[in-house]
């Protein structure tokens, strides 16, 4: 459905993305995961015909996004990174406007947005600018869906949204996927990766890996430790300086430590005691996407 082939793009002297290859299958919920400035928005804007690549080409439903940009514009449901609806128009007015702009009516495609719109219905007279963050996202999603797009493209839809709304939002995407829609979504939140069928990890304009979330975690074959209890920034520095430690970074309230192969927990414990570092527990942990990302990032 979507295919990026050897895509490069730079802004002046800054290389935004370089030699990107990605393929998204029909009916897939595909996640593009990486920190701010990794190149996610650049890729999405090229897919949605807003930017031109310096090199390589992008196919949308088999159509070239440069030559057939009008086809793409007619058939993509796009939700930009910043809230881009009219704040001074009401929920209803926004929805009607975008339906008409795409040559359809809210009535004709109401079934597509119904599960999402029912939550907005009580506020339909309210100005979009007065909605909560989560509600805004729902409205933006409705507006992106109202013309029955082939592919839904979402740029960081959950950024700046509370945890409950984020979960709800992903459930909505799952529902849309179940109806056969192809969804291409970017996010800086690693924990959202497991909600996708397949993900691509992106950093500094390069794809680190593309696989299913479980596939990516399965490739992680190091011992991972979690250090809990109150820790100081110096502890991380200390861990990083140990030759046994491949990687150490804060993870929630704890520190995740990736060991180089051939070393064990005992050695780290010994070293920590020698440096009289206080901690609660040091125990093996199950790796998650973030651990894989950190590992791929440092070994890249």
């Amino acid at each position: 459905m979507i295919e990026f082939s050897n895509i490069s793009k730079s802004y002046g002297s800054v290389q935004a993305v370089e030699h990107i290859n990605l393929k998204v299958e029909k009916g897939e919920l595909f996640g593009l995961i990486g920190p701010d400035g990794a190149g996610k928005t650049t890729l999405i804007r090229m897919l949605t015909t807003l930017l031109l690549a310096d090199e390589g080409n992008v196919l949308f439903s088999g159509k070239d996004v440069v030559k057939d940009y009008l086809y793409v514009r007619n058939n993509v449901g796009y939700m930009p990174g910043t809230f881009s609806l009219y704040q001074d128009l009401s929920v209803e007015e926004n929805l009607n406007f975008f339906a008409t702009a795409f040559g359809t009516t809210v009535k004709a495609n109401y079934h597509l947005i119904e599960p999402i719109y029912v939550q907005l219905e009580p506020f339909k007279k309210r100005r979009a600018g007065a909605l909560s963050g989560g509600m805004k996202q729902k409205l933006a999603l409705c507006c992106a869906l109202i013309h029955k797009p082939e592919i839904l493209v979402l740029d960081e839809p959950t950024t700046g949204v509370d945890a409950v709304s984020r979960k709800e939002f992903w459930e909505m995407l799952q529902g849309l996927k179940a109806e056969g829609l192809t969804i291409f979504v970017s996010t800086p939140y690693m924990d959202e990766a497991t909600m996708c069928d397949r993900i691509a990890l992106i950093q500094d304009g390069h794809i680190l890996d593309t696989d299913t979330p479980t596939g990516i975690v399965a490739k992680f074959n190091y011992t991972l430790l979690a250090l809990t209890g109150k820790y100081k920034q110096e502890t991380i520095e200390l861990l990083r300086s140990m030759e046994q430690v491949k990687n150490a970074f804060p993870f929630g309230d704890s520190i995740h430590i990736t060991l180089r192969n051939g070393y064990s927990v005992k050695e780290i414990e010994g070293l920590l005691q020698k440096n009289s570092v206080a901690y609660e527990k040091l125990e093996p942990a199950k790796p998650v996407i973030e651990d894989c990302f950190m590992d791929l990032m440092t070994s890249h």
Binding site: Y69, R73, D88, A101
Partner: protein, 366 residues
């Protein structure tokens, strides 16, 4: 078509929900017309004067009465000595002093009467006007009252054509219409389009089947209608409040106004294609359009007395042509037979601006 209508309706909603836009749209014309019509005027009304009558005969008294009853002057004080006159000037109590010599009536008979006018020229324009008015009254007085005794006096008869009573308003109404149309059409449209860029909604509009021409028309048509209403409103104010005549054809006047509105709108579009933010659009509109409209269009300062580089510059100012057209139709009552050149220039400018605006409209983000 349905898309366009929806777009226009959406635009009207934006306008009517934004207080600042409404103020510029509807508050501005009233303020401008009132300001230019009443406050900023170079006519003289009730200017404070002092008369030093050294003669006190029947003729000098009648002359004083004649001057004070003209409506232009208010007799603030009568002075007995030149010193007193001087004092009044220093206190800034009077703008003009009239000194009538001794034995005025006799001297008039002898054709040797000299009246001295002293004007406060710290405001040179006003001083000039005051002196001219007084001269006019004195000449008229001499002709009427002492005419018999002045057989050789030459009387020049001046007729101020098209604006016989020299009403400043007749000049200002066309000027204000031009300023308002320029402001509303160019400034507001350029802001309205850049606002979509700034808020990111342009991103969605681009990634939609809407064509650039639909986006532009949808943005521009509401402002065209509102500007046209504004133009009519100012014309009505001019006619009914300031008694400005419309000697020429009203349909032609409205047609030419519409043409100028489209000129200004196309300038607004052109600015918006270049400006990245509302702020830039506003600065460009104000400095590149408003100032030349006020200063170089011949509205306030006559173009013929400008140095030639500015005269050249005024040639490329659309407002200049529109003001000529407006004055032509309203005051002189002429039609297209006379004004075809200006109309043609405006049409040509509009086409160039429109073509450049549409060509520059970006269908992508960068």
């Amino acid at each position: 078509m349905k898309q366009l209508i929806t777009f226009i309706l959406k635009e009207f909603r934006h306008i009517f929900r934004d207080v600042r836009t409404l103020v510029i749209l509807f508050g501005m014309p009233v303020v401008q017309v009132t300001l230019f019509g009443y406050a900023i005027t170079n006519e003289v009304k009730d200017a404070d004067i002092v008369v030093l009558d050294k003669s006190h005969d029947y003729l000098s008294t009648r002359l004083t009465n004649k001057i004070t009853s003209s409506g232009y002057f208010y007799l603030k004080d009568k002075a007995a000595t030149v010193k007193e006159v001087d004092k009044l000037f220093r206190e800034d109590a009077v703008k003009l002093a009239i000194i009538i010599p001794e034995h005025f009536a006799e001297r008039v008979q002898e054709k040797d009467a000299h009246i001295q006018l002293l004007a406060d020229a710290s405001d040179p324009n006003q001083a000039n006007i005051l002196v001219n008015y007084t001269n006019g009254i004195i000449n008229k007085f001499m002709f009427e009252e002492a005419g018999v005794g002045l057989p050789y006096a030459i009387n020049t008869e001046v007729e101020m054509t098209y604006n016989p009573t020299l009403e400043g308003v007749f000049l200002f109404v066309p000027g204000v219409i031009t300023i308002i149309l320029m402001l509303v059409s160019a400034l507001l449209t350029s802001i309205a389009i850049t606002r979509e860029k700034e808020l990111g909604t342009m991103e969605i509009l681009l990634v939609s089947p809407l064509k650039p021409i639909q986006i532009i028309l949808g943005k521009v048509i509401p402002y065209m209608l509102l500007s046209f209403m504004n133009a009519m409103f100012i014309l009505l104010m001019g006619v009914f409040i300031f008694h400005m005549p419309i000697n020429g054809s009203i349909p032609l006047l409205l047609g030419e106004s519409l043409l100028f509105i489209i000129t200004a709108l196309s300038l607004g579009i052109l600015i918006s294609t270049k400006a990245a933010s509302q702020q830039v659009a506003m600065m460009v509109s104000l400095f590149a359009l408003m100032l030349p409209t006020i200063l170089l269009s011949g509205f306030i300062f006559p173009i013929s007395s400008m140095p030639w580089p500015l005269q050249w510059l005024s040639m490329i100012m659309p407002p200049k042509y529109f003001i000529i057209i407006l004055k032509g139709i309203m005051l002189q009552g002429v039609g297209l037979a006379v004004l075809w050149k200006e109309t043609l220039v405006l049409t040509g400018m509009t086409l160039v601006f429109l073509a450049a605006g549409i060509k520059n409209f970006k269908i992508r983000l960068a």
